[in-house]
Amino acid sequence: MSSYRIMVIDDEKIVGDMARMALEQDGYEVETFLNAEPALARLHEEKFDVVVTDYKMKGIDGMEVLKTVRRLYPETKVIMITAFANLDAAIEALRADVHDFFPKPVKIKELKASIQRALGK
């Protein structure tokens, strides 16, 4: 069976690098993007099992990524991380059926656990 595919979108390069480092260890296939446009283009080509995206980004933001993914692949889970830990954003994301919502700094173990839940493991 092929491994699960995970997409990470964050305009902080280190976030993608570190997520890749941690998730590849568990056997996931990881692709990272610094902004949403190429990520969405990639999503149109291929389905991912989990999308981890930053909430606030220049250009297309996390909310739009979430909505696009929901439209394209209803079974794909979206996990949102944000440096702006504000309640309104969290409520908006929950309404749009986000799988999980993490404020920065992110605990990698929690992120991994959340991804496992998303995959029904």
Binding site: M18, A22, A83, K104, P105, I108
Partner: protein, 480 residues
């Protein structure tokens, strides 16, 4: 003296004055009445005496005993009349004159009795009777005339007194009310001045001795109110400053979150993969951590630079670079507030001679104002351009906020004037104004309620810069 007391006193004064005049008029009326009653009696007496003298003449002509009896009756009538009206007569002409009258009447009566008793004509007695009769009549007539004249005098006097007292009352009324109203107006003017100073935020106090009346108490109360307001305003400014600082630091705190998260994720992975990492990998991770700590250091330094007051250090700067720096400082605040930013920075602007830190502070102030004027989703536009005459450079900071009512525009750069309620210090714009004026520049505002506000900073281009522009323009012409 209290105003209330003043008014009471002047009223009492006028009442007493009017009472005195009334009392005097009553006295005069009473006197006049007495005199008039006497004149009535005297008229009767005079008539009686006249009849007596007619009878006397008749007697001397016809010698009738009936006439004698008539005369006796007339004398007795007169005596009865005088006796019955004795009191009135005494009041009018006094006891002495009454006694005199009685004396004349007695003498006449006595001579009359002698005439009646004498059996033959006695020319001496007749002449005496005539003389006495004449005297009696003359005295009575003279007294009556005198009393009539007195009545006239009293009426004249009363008229005069009433006339003068009317003017006296009028004059004192005018004087007293003028005095009282002057006193009130003087105090009111003091209070007006005080209230004006409070509304202008200068919080003056009225010094010196205060009037010892109700207005003194009012001024005293307003004075202490002014003092209280001044204290409160100082507290308010302090808390507003903290609120403003809060908005700025919220942005900075969020800016710190990203490098903090990066370090945290690197450290978590470093610990997780500790056994598998070779030297190069470890070094790479540590260098990344170092990079992120430098990023934090920059943010903190920037904030410290901004908050620390410094002496103006002028240098030739590219204004566009300053605008970008200010925007970077505010980027997170703008992100949190979900404000869209548009930059229109003209290329090839001549350098301006500025203290970059101060101009950056002005721009941050203007951006902060713009953010606070807008709802989330608003648009902030920063534009730089060359002034029409070429001797200055302009920077516009525009928002799509609620705009400033025209009546506030003239006060916008006054210290402590704020349209933000609790949100603003009212210091930002006045400080900005001071900084721009120190740069020999200008700051202008153009606002439309409901549409937005544009603040424009104009900074002069130093002489050298102007020459460059002139050269460029020459070249432009040459190229065409």
């Amino acid at each position: 003296m209290k105003v209330e007391n003043n008014i009471i006193l002047s009223n009492v004064f006028h009442i007493v004055l009017i009472l005195l005049i009334g009392f005097f008029a009553l006295q005069n009326l009473n006197l006049m009445l007495t005199k008039l009653r006497f004149v009535e009696i005297a008229d009767d007496l005079n008539a009686s005496f006249l009849e007596l003298r007619i009878s006397e003449k008749n007697y001397f002509l016809y010698r009738s005993s009936e006439t004698l009896q008539e005369m006796r009756d007339q004398i007795d009538n007169s005596i009865t009349l005088i006796d019955s009206a004795q009191n009135d007569i005494v009041r009018a002409i006094g006891q002495t004159n009454l006694d005199e009258l009685r004396k004349y009447l007695r003498r006449y009566s006595a001579v009359f009795e002698e005439v009646r008793r004498s059996t033959m004509r006695d020319p001496r007695l007749e002449s005496m009777l005539r003389t006495q009769g004449k005297r009696l009549r003359e005295f009575s007539a003279a007294t009556t005339k005198l009393e009539r004249r007195r009545v006239n005098e009293i009426i004249e006097n009363s008229k005069k007194v009433l006339f003068y007292s009317f003017w006296a009352v009028l004059l004192t009324a005018v004087m007293v009310s003028h005095f009282v109203s002057q006193k009130i107006l003087r105090s009111l003017r003091l209070i007006e001045k005080l209230a004006k100073s409070i509304s202008q935020g200068t919080y003056q106090k009225i010094e010196g001795t205060l009037p010892a009346d109700e207005f003194g108490s009012v001024i005293n109360a307003v004075n202490s109110m002014s003092e209280e307001l001044k204290d409160r305003e100082e507290e308010l400014i302090q808390s507003k400053k903290l609120a403003s600082l809060g908005i700025l630091t919220a942005g900075v705190a969020h800016e710190l979150t990203n490098p903090l998260n990066n370090i945290s994720m690197i450290v978590q992975n470093y610990m997780e993969f500790y056994d598998y990492l070779n030297k190069a990998n470890s070094l790479d991770l540590m260098q990344k951590i170092q990079g992120e700590t430098e990023r934090i250091e920059d943010i903190v330094k920037n904030l410290l630079d901004f908050s620390k007051p410094k002496e103006a250090v002028l240098g030739e700067r590219d204004i566009n670079e300053t605008v970008r720096k200010a925007l970077r400082l505010m980027q997170n605040t703008l992100d949190i507030s979900n404000i869209d930013v548009k930059l229109f920075l003209q290329d090839g602007l001549p350098p301006v001679l500025i203290d970059e830190h101060q101009i950056q502070q002005v721009l941050v102030n203007l951006i902060l104002n713009a953010v606070q004027a807008m709802e989330p989703g608003g648009r902030l536009t920063l534009a730089s351009r060359r002034g029409k005459s070429g001797d200055n450079v302009k920077v516009d900071v525009s928002d799509t906020g609620k705009g400033i009512p025209p009546e506030f525009i003239p006060h916008l750069f006054d210290p402590f004037f704020s349209t933000k309620g609790v949100g603003g210090t009212g210091l930002g714009l006045s400080v900005s104004y001071g900084i721009i004026r120190n740069h020999k520049g200008n700051i202008k505002v153009d606002s439309k309620v409901g549409a937005g506000t544009t603040f424009t900073i104009e900074l002069p281009v130093p002489e050298k810069g102007k020459e460059e522009i002139a050269d460029e323009q020459l070249q432009d012409h040459g190229n065409r």
